[in-house]
Amino acid sequence: MIDLIFVTSTLAFFVIASAYIAGCERLRGGKPNA
C-alpha cells in the first residue's frame, strides 16, 4: 500500500511539473509544445 502511495506521489509531482512547464510557456505568450 505504501509503495502505491510513493509511486502515485512521484507521478503526481511530475504531472505538476509538466503543468508548470505549460504555465511558464503561457506566461511568455506561447502555447506549450506548439
Binding site: F6, V7, T10, C24
Partner: protein, 593 residues
C-alpha cells in the same frame, strides 16, 4: 595555517586551471557533434542506441519538449531505482550479505536523491544496499543525473548562442553523447587509477577479522539502560567501490559506497587519491566555462565566469582553512599549536592522514560543487568553518557547481547581473547582444525564489515540531538549528552532504527531504529552460557604446557581488541564528550538547 597547506591548495587549483581549456574544448566538440578521436569506437554504439530506442537524432526540440523529455526520463529512472531497492531481497544476484528489501520511506528518499544528483544518504550503505542495488540502482543514476545536468547546461548555452531559433537541441542526443563521450571514458581511466591507489573492486562477501584484543562496546538498550557488549571480531566491508567512486566524484554525485564516504580508507586511501578526488569534482564544471566561451563565440566571457567562480571558491577555502586552524577555546591546557608532531587547530572529525588543509579544501570544494562527498565530518568543524559549507550551498551551488547544474545556475545569475547593470546605467539590459526582457527576469526570480522557500519553509516547520524535527537532533541550541538547516539546504541544493548529528532516517525527514530534492532540481530547471528558450528566439543586436561588456574584470566583480548579495540577503538571518551565534557563544565559553 601552514605553507605546506597553502602549497597543496595552490597545486589543486593549478590542476583545475590547466585542465579547464582542454576539457572545455573537448566537451564543446562533443555537444556540437564535431569529430573527436573516440568517434570510431563510440559512433556505432550511439547509432545502435538510437535505433533500439527509436530516436531520430536529427529532430530538434523546443524548450518545452526538451524539458518534458528530461522529466520523463527522470520519472522512469526514479521509479526503476525505487523498484530495485524494494526488490533487492528477491534479486539474489550480487547480494552476498542477504540484505532485506529497503524500507519504503528510505527507498523513496534514496531513489529521489540519486535521480536528482543529490545522493543524500539517510542510511548506512554497507549495511543496507546489496551490490546489485549499489551498481544497477545507484551508480547508473550517477551517470544519468550527471549527463542530464550537462545536457541542460548545453541547452542553456545553445539558447544564448542561437539567434531567432525556437529549438535548443535534442535531449536524448545530448544525454547519450555526454554519457558515451565524456563520462564513461573518463570513469574507466579514473577507476583504474583509483584501484592503483588501493580502492577495492570486488564482489566478495564481507571479510571477518579476529581482533587481537577483545573490545567492550557500550550501547543504549531498548529499555534505555546502558548495555556493555564484548566484541572479538570485526566485519570489513568489500564491494565494487572503485567503479562507483569514479563517477561519484566526476559526476559530482557524492554518494559514498561506505557510510564514511571519502574518509573511508577503501574509498580514499592515499593523499594522491584524495587529490584526484578533489580535482575530479571541479574537472567538468571548470571545463564547462570554456565550453560556454567556445559555443557562444566569446572565450573571454567563459573565462570571466571562471574567474568569478574562482574568487568565490578562494574566499570559501580561505575562511574555512582559517577557521579550522584556530584552536578550540573550550580545550583548556591542550597545546593546539602547529608543531612537528601536531597539526594544530581543530582535528575533531578529520582524518589524520588528510589533515586540516586537505579537509578544509575538500569540504569547500564538495559544497561549492554540489558534490556532497566528504573526507571529514562537517558537523565537527568549528562554527565558522561549518558556516562556509552551508553558505557555499546557499549561494546556489554555482561555484563551479554540479556538473551542468553549476553552469546553468551561474548563467541565471549572469542574466540577473546584466539586468541590474542595465538598470544602473538606464539602458535596456543586453546579454551578448540579446535584450533581456521582463519575462527573462520573471523566470530568473522564480528560479531564485524556489530555492529558499523549500529550505527555510521546511526548516522552520522542523524547528517548531518537537515530534518531527527536533527529536532527531544530537545537539541543541544554534548547532541544532545548523543541523536542520544544513539538511534542507543540502537537499534543495542537490548537494547531498550531511552535517551529521541529525538522524534523518525518519518518516518526516525522508519525506520532506525528498520533496525538497525534487523541488530543488526540477522546479528550478523549468524556469531556467524557459529563459534558454526565450533567449534562443531573440535577434542579436550589434554591440554599441552602451552595451555592458561581459568579458572583463568589471563583469566578474559585479557577478561575484550579485551572487554574494542574493545569498546573503536570503540566508544571513538563518546563518546568524546558527553558526554565527554558535561562534560567539563558543568564544564566551558556552557549548551545546
Amino acid at each position: 595555517m601552514t605553507t605546506n597547506g597553502w602549497l597543496q591548495i595552490a597545486v589543486f587549483f593549478g590542476l583545475v586551471l590547466a585542465a579547464a581549456k582542454p576539457m572545455g574544448l573537448y566537451m564543446a566538440r562533443v555537444y556540437e557533434g564535431k569529430r573527436t578521436w573516440l568517434d570510431p569506437v563510440l559512433t556505432p554504439i550511439e547509432r545502435l542506441l538510437y535505433r533500439l530506442s527509436g530516436i531520430d537524432s536529427n529532430v530538434e526540440m523546443r524548450w518545452t519538449q526538451y524539458c518534458s523529455a528530461m522529466l520523463l526520463f527522470s520519472l522512469a529512472t526514479l521509479l526503476l531505482t525505487y523498484g530495485v531497492e524494494r526488490l533487492q531481497h528477491v534479486v539474489a544476484l550480487w547480494n552476498p550479505q542477504h540484505f532485506p528489501a529497503v524500507e519504503p520511506y528510505l527507498a523513496w528518499n534514496t531513489a529521489v536523491s540519486f535521480t536528482t544528483n543529490t545522493n543524500w544518504q539517510a542510511y548506512v550503505p554497507e549495511q543496507t544496499m546489496s551490490y546489485f542495488t549499489q551498481m544497477f540502482g545507484l551508480a547508473t543514476h550517477n551517470f544519468w543525473s550527471a549527463a542530464v545536468g550537462m545536457a541542460l547546461a548545453i541547452a542553456f548555452i545553445r539558447g544564448i548562442a542561437r539567434r531567432e531559433m525556437k529549438t535548443l537541441g535534442n535531449f536524448w542526443v545530448d544525454l547519450t553523447r555526454g554519457t558515451l563521450w565524456i563520462l564513461l571514458p573518463l570513469c574507466v581511466v579514473y577507476a583504474l587509477a583509483l584501484v592503483s591507489q588501493g580502492v577495492v573492486q570486488n564482489f566478495r562477501p564481507y571479510d571477518t577479522a579476529t581482533l587481537l584484543e577483545k573490545q567492550s562496546i557500550t550501547s543504549t538498550g531498548a529499555d534505555g539502560k546502558q548495555v556493555a557488549t564484548a566484541v572479538a571480531t570485526q566485519t570489513i566491508a568489500q564491494g565494487p567501490v572503485a567503479s562507483q567512486e569514479a563517477i561519484k566524484m566526476l559526476g559530482t554525485n557524492g554518494g559514498g559506497f561506505f557510510n564514511a564516504n571519502s574518509a573511508h580508507p577503501f574509498e580514499n586511501p592515499t593523499p594522491l587519491s584524495n587529490l584526484m578526488q578533489m580535482f575530479s569534482i571541479f574537472l567538468i564544471p571548470g571545463g564547462l566555462c570554456v565550453t560556454l566561451g567556445q559555443m557562444v563565440g566569446s572565450r573571454k566571457h567563459g573565462w570571466a565566469v571562471f574567474a568569478a567562480m574562482s574568487v568565490l571558491w578562494f574566499a570559501g577555502v580561505l575562511t574555512c582553512y582559517w577557521a579550522e586552524s584556530q584552536p578550540n577555546p573550550l580545550f583548556h591546557g591542550v597545546d593546539q599549536h602547529v608543531g612537528a608532531l601536531a597539526s594544530g587547530g581543530n582535528m575533531e572529525g578529520k582524518e589524520v592522514r588528510f589533515g586540516i588543509a586537505n579537509s578544509a579544501l575538500f569540504a569547500t570544494i564538495t559544497t561549492d560543487a554540489s558534490c556532497g562527498a566528504v573526507n571529514s565530518m562537517h558537523d565537527s568543524f568549528m562554527p565558522l568553518g561549518g558556516m562556509v559549507t552551508l553558505a557555499n550551498i546557499h549561494l546556489g551551488e554555482i561555484v563551479f557547481g554540479g556538473v551542468g547544474a553549476g553552469m546553468y545556475g551561474m548563467l541565471v545569475f549572469v542574466i540577473l547581473t546584466v539586468f541590474i547593470a542595465g538598470l544602473m546605467v538606464g539602458r535596456t539590459p543586453e546579454y551578448l547582444g540579446k535584450k533581456v526582457n521582463a519575462y527573462d527576469v520573471q523566470m530568473a526570480m522564480l528560479y531564485f525564489l524556489i530555492f529558499p522557500v523549500f529550505i527555510l519553509g521546511f526548516s522552520a516547520i522542523a524547528v517548531l515540531s518537537p515530534g518531527l524535527g527536533t527529536s532527531s537532533l544530537s545537539n541543541h541550541g544554534p548547532h541544532g538549528l545548523s543541523q536542520i538547516l544544513y539538511a534542507y539546504t543540502s537537499a534543495a541544493g542537490n548537494n547531498g552532504s550531511a552535517f551529521a548529528g541529525l538522524n534523518a532516517n525518519t518518516h518526516w525527514y525522508n519525506s520532506t527531504l525528498a520533496i525538497t530534492m525534487l523541488a530543488g532540481r526540477f522546479l528550478m530547471i523549468v524556469p531556467m529552460l524557459a529563459i534558454a528558450g526565450s533567449l534562443a528566439a531573440k535577434k542579436i543586436a550589434p554591440a554599441s557604446l552602451g552595451t555592458f561588456p561581459v568579458d572583463n574584470s568589471l563583469f566578474t566583480a559585479l557577478l561575484t557581488g550579485i551572487v554574494v548579495i542574493v545569498g546573503a540577503l536570503t540566508f544571513f538571518p538563518a546563518l546568524s541564528l546558527g553558526p554565527i551565534l554558535e561562534h560567539l557563544l563558543l568564544r564566551a565559553g558556552t557549548s551545546f550538547s
